[in-house]
């Protein structure tokens, strides 16, 4: 693969990741958001594969396959199950409305660019120049966590955050050591499973998964 071709594909993939993140902020249908998550998972796997090609490392291909399975198949499947059980299809009223969310997303992306300057400066290369995308996705994910009311939306926010970190890891270091990567993936999977169980219990106890109901423990 030529350098320019690699850079173009890389930028495309990274752009896709950021775009899906912003779209997740925009859309209200939970099913659509889960679909966007699948797309983002695929793009992440693509990114890993791309790095594998670049570094000609088989390990990265394995990682890419793992990412594909986990982020594009398993986790969305879990989310769909939650979605089906809960029967609540829309993120009706986010705490910050969509317009403001999009404006905030713009600001957060700018901040990510500003922040990643020293990171890029350490080893300027096409790969690291895409680092702001990863950081921006992290911040967007956090933003979703803070502003979305549904339990499912929060899980999505967490996954977005995690995807951002994964992207950052690939872009900055071509992935962390495998043992760490495994640990991380297992942890993320378990967290989401725990949350699925919790969401089910929440529905049992509260009748819905609106997180506003969780305000009994307070001072």
């Amino acid at each position: 693969m030529t350098d320019t071709g690699y850079v173009q594909i890389l930028d495309l993939v990274c752009g896709g990741i950021l775009l899906t993140a912003v779209l997740m902020l925009w859309r209200r249908e939970l099913a659509a958001i889960v679909r966007l998550l699948v797309v983002q998972g695929v793009l992440l796997a693509l990114l890993a594969a791309l790095m594998g090609v670049r570094e000609s490392s088989t390990e990265l291909f394995v990682v890419a396959a793992g990412v594909l399975v986990l982020k594009a198949i398993v986790l969305p499947a879990v989310l769909r199950r939650v979605l089906r059980d809960s029967g609540e299809a829309r993120e009706a009223e986010p705490l910050v409305n969509v317009t403001a969310s999009l404006l905030a997303a713009a600001l957060l992306t700018l901040l990510a660019y500003g922040l990643s300057r020293p990171l890029v400066a350490l080893a300027p290369s096409p790969t690291t120049r895409a680092l702001p995308v990863g950081l921006a996705v992290v911040l967007l994910g956090f933003f979703v966590l803070v502003t979305r009311r549904r339990a499912l939306s929060q899980v999505v926010g967490f996954l977005l955050l995690d995807n951002g970190i994964t992207a950052t890891a690939f872009l900055a270091t071509a992935g962390v050591p495998l043992v760490v990567e495994l640990g991380v993936s297992l942890d993320v999977l378990l967290v989401v499973l725990v949350m699925q169980v919790l969401a089910a219990r929440m529905r049992l106890s509260f009748g819905r998964t609106d997180l506003d109901g969780l305000r009994e423990l307070r001072d």
Partner: protein, 512 residues
């Protein structure tokens, strides 16, 4: 004692003896967990958790003996124990012994009272040892990435322990706990990734490394620009698990909902393990960045945590939440020590961690008993306890005294040393702020607990919903509490067994 020391040293630093010392504390709880999986909750199973805790404690002691002179034990490339690790092993072991020991009667009482069933008890029996394993792994891991994963694993393992009792509040507390901690720890992961990124470009080799000793050796090569972004992420991320501002909010909910022994473990050890991670990273950060930056960052977080705890304690109405906020306060104090970072400060903060762990273990277990006997966690619902339950209330009172930093308990000594270390480092203003906040904490906690403890046995004043109280604390429940208090007092008076170890640990983590 000498014989053991020679034995341990005779085996090489990475010989089979070392392997045994480092693997045993991880495997023993797993054995206990699988026992619970197989046979469910039995007396013997519950004692096996205690035995596992004792194993952790014993290996902690052995590791301490081996590493007090500054040497390091390793197993393969993944497990590693130096004096700092040994201290943490000791903390985990001691608190675990008390918590599991009092857990024996706790679950029996819960079963008897119908708060849980056989499945719940089995889950408890499985998860608690696994929790211990995760924490032991976190302190033994030589790789910072593995350490991260182990700390994250504690969240998952404890998720269902927090929600042990079931019900709306348990679900709520668990959701907050899992969500906030996962987010926080994810930030720490981002920080880890960035450190790894910096290490790749620091001449460590093509692949870079997350191995702590390698990182420390090459810390001055790490890029300051990257580290300046990474360190705040790490502080915030591990700070979440340590219950520090601004990601502290999960802690009061989780601590107040979890079963008492689990609260004891979380408050006494889990928070400290996160601090331990920060302590490790601090060495790297200080070498890579200027001291002032690291110090200011941590100091702000630390003081903010103490201030928050003080504010929340003032009008607290629930004694388990009171203890939880007190944990935030103490972690804040410990973080002041981390910020100062001189050898004296590190020695002091390690002793503080140990003291706090013991005190909190005693207090949470005692508060579990109070809950069992009074039927409420409201402070205003408990009156004149000392007159009715002298032993239970006495241990609770002494625990509070220890927590508030009264001698002869070790927290006083460590707080004093922290103040001295901070003043020596030119941070007298921080000492002043912290001490004033501690005064607020003192008044608040003393005021709330005085209401619970003192006063006559006014039968008419007790709210009607309280069950007929148990006449006195069962001996099996009282023994661990009293043991813990005695240990706490001895630690505050006698320097001899720990001083050398703590000095060795401070030589590892302290920078002057």
């Amino acid at each position: 004692m000498m014989a053991i020391s020679e034995m341990v040293h005779a085996a090489a630093a990475s010989g089979p003896a070392a392997t045994a010392v480092l693997l045993a504390p991880m495997l023993a709880p797993l054995v206990a967990a699988s026992a619970a999986v197989l046979v469910g909750w039995r007396r013997a199973v519950s004692w096996s958790a205690v035995a596992a805790s004792v194993v952790i404690l014993v290996s902690g002691v052995l590791a301490a003996v081996a590493t007090a002179d500054g040497s390091v034990l390793t197993v393969g490339g993944t497990l590693r124990a130096d004096a700092l690790t040994a201290v943490m092993l000791l903390v985990i072991g001691v608190v675990a012994v008390i918590a599991t020991w009092s857990g024996v009667s706790y679950i029996d009482q819960e079963l008897a009272a119908g708060h849980t069933d056989g499945r719940g008890a089995r889950r408890y029996g499985v998860l608690v040892p696994m929790f211990l394993t995760a924490m032991v792994l976190a302190v033994l891991a030589s790789n910072l990435g593995v350490m991260w994963a182990a700390i994250e694993a504690t969240t998952i393992v404890t998720a269902f322990l927090v929600g042990h009792r079931g019900g709306r509040q348990a679900v709520e507390a668990t959701w907050k706990y899992v969500m906030i901690c996962s987010v926080g720890i994810a930030l720490a992961y981002l920080g880890t990734v960035l450190v790894y990124y910096a290490s790749q470009h620091a001449g460590i080799g093509e692949q870079g490394s997350l191995d702590w000793s390698v990182l420390v050796a090459n810390a001055d090569q790490l890029d300051p620009g990257v580290m300046r972004v990474a360190v705040p992420l790490l502080v915030l991320g591990f700070g979440t698990k340590a219950g520090l501002m601004p990601m502290h909010s999960w802690l009061p909910d989780a601590h107040s909902q979890a079963p008492a022994p689990v609260s004891a473990l979380m408050s006494g050890v889990l928070l400290s393990v996160a601090v331990y991670a920060l302590l490790r990273y601090r060495v790297v950060a200080v070498a890579a960045l200027d001291l002032q930056f690291v110090r200011s960052l941590i100091l702000v977080v630390a003081l903010a945590s103490v201030a928050l705890a003080a504010s929340m304690l003032l009008a607290q109405r629930d004694y388990k939440r009171l203890l939880a906020y007190s944990s935030i306060e103490h972690m804040g104090l410990v973080m002041i020590g981390v910020a100062v970072g001189t050898p004296l400060a590190v020695t002091a903060l390690l002793l503080h961690i140990l003291g706090h762990g013991l005190a909190k273990a005693v207090l949470f277990c005692a508060s579990g008993q109070i809950l069992a006997s009074e039927g409420t966690t409201q402070i205003s619902g408990v009156r004149g306890l000392l007159a009715r339950q002298p032993v239970l209330a006495g241990t609770f009172a002494l625990g509070v005294a220890a927590l508030l930093g009264l001698p002869p308990f070790s927290i006083f000594v460590s707080e004093l040393a922290l103040a001295r270390a901070a003043a020596d480092a030119g941070l007298a203003w921080a000492v002043a702020v912290a001490l004033v906040l501690l005064l607020v904490v003192f008044v608040a906690v003393a005021g709330h607990t005085a209401g619970m403890l003192f006063g006559g046995d006014a039968a008419g004043q007790r709210p009607p919903h309280t069950p007929p109280h148990t006449p006195s604390l069962p001996r099996v429940a009282a023994a661990p509490l009293v043991t813990g208090l005695i240990a706490l007092a001895v630690l505050g008076v006698v320097a001899w067994p720990l001083e050398q170890l703590l000095d060795a640990a401070s030589a590892i983590a302290g920078t002057s």
